[in-house]
Symmetry: C2
Subunit: 93 residues, 2 copies
């Protein structure tokens, strides 16, 4: 079963106050070499593979992941997303 991982981050030109708050908290803890923190979202999505599909399953899952990201997971006005496929331990997909 392929697992689709979608990472959603604010576009670089969009201010990220949440990341800035984390950066300041890290500084207070003594992590003074941190120059920038951006915080985003990570989605791990399991897809039921249709029976009988082998090597093409990963490509199909990636296509599905991009479709889900564009339609729901990311706001394309202010966010970028990346999609990749990770095989599960079983890896029968």
């Amino acid at each position: 079963v392929p697992r689709v991982v979608v990472d959603v981050m604010l576009k670089p030109e969009i201010l990220d106050p949440q990341g800035q708050a984390v950066q300041r908290a890290l500084e207070r803890l003594g992590f003074d070499r941190v120059t920038s923190v951006r915080q985003g979202k990570r989605f791990e999505i399991e897809i039921a593979a249709p029976a009988g599909i082998g090597p093409g399953a990963a490509d199909a899952a990636a296509e599905l992941g991009r479709d889900m990201a564009a339609r729901l997971l990311a706001n394309n006005v202010i966010e970028d997303f990346t999609v990749r496929i990770e095989d599960d331990a079983g890896g029968a997909g």
Copy 2:
């Protein structure tokens, strides 16, 4: 300059209502092959490399990333984290 990426996800045994809500929203949009969605956080952290350090910089940055994750970014009672290093475009770090 090395970039540290920290992914924080709820442990598998912890209920993820946010992920479940996303899964139901995907179903309503017609993505009916999705069997599970888990939502977590992704942090992209830029570290100022100390001058004169070459190949060891990535290891040092990864160590720093694990320290930051354990002390602030993740709640180790309910969350797992993974740390990895991505080189920036410039890659002078």
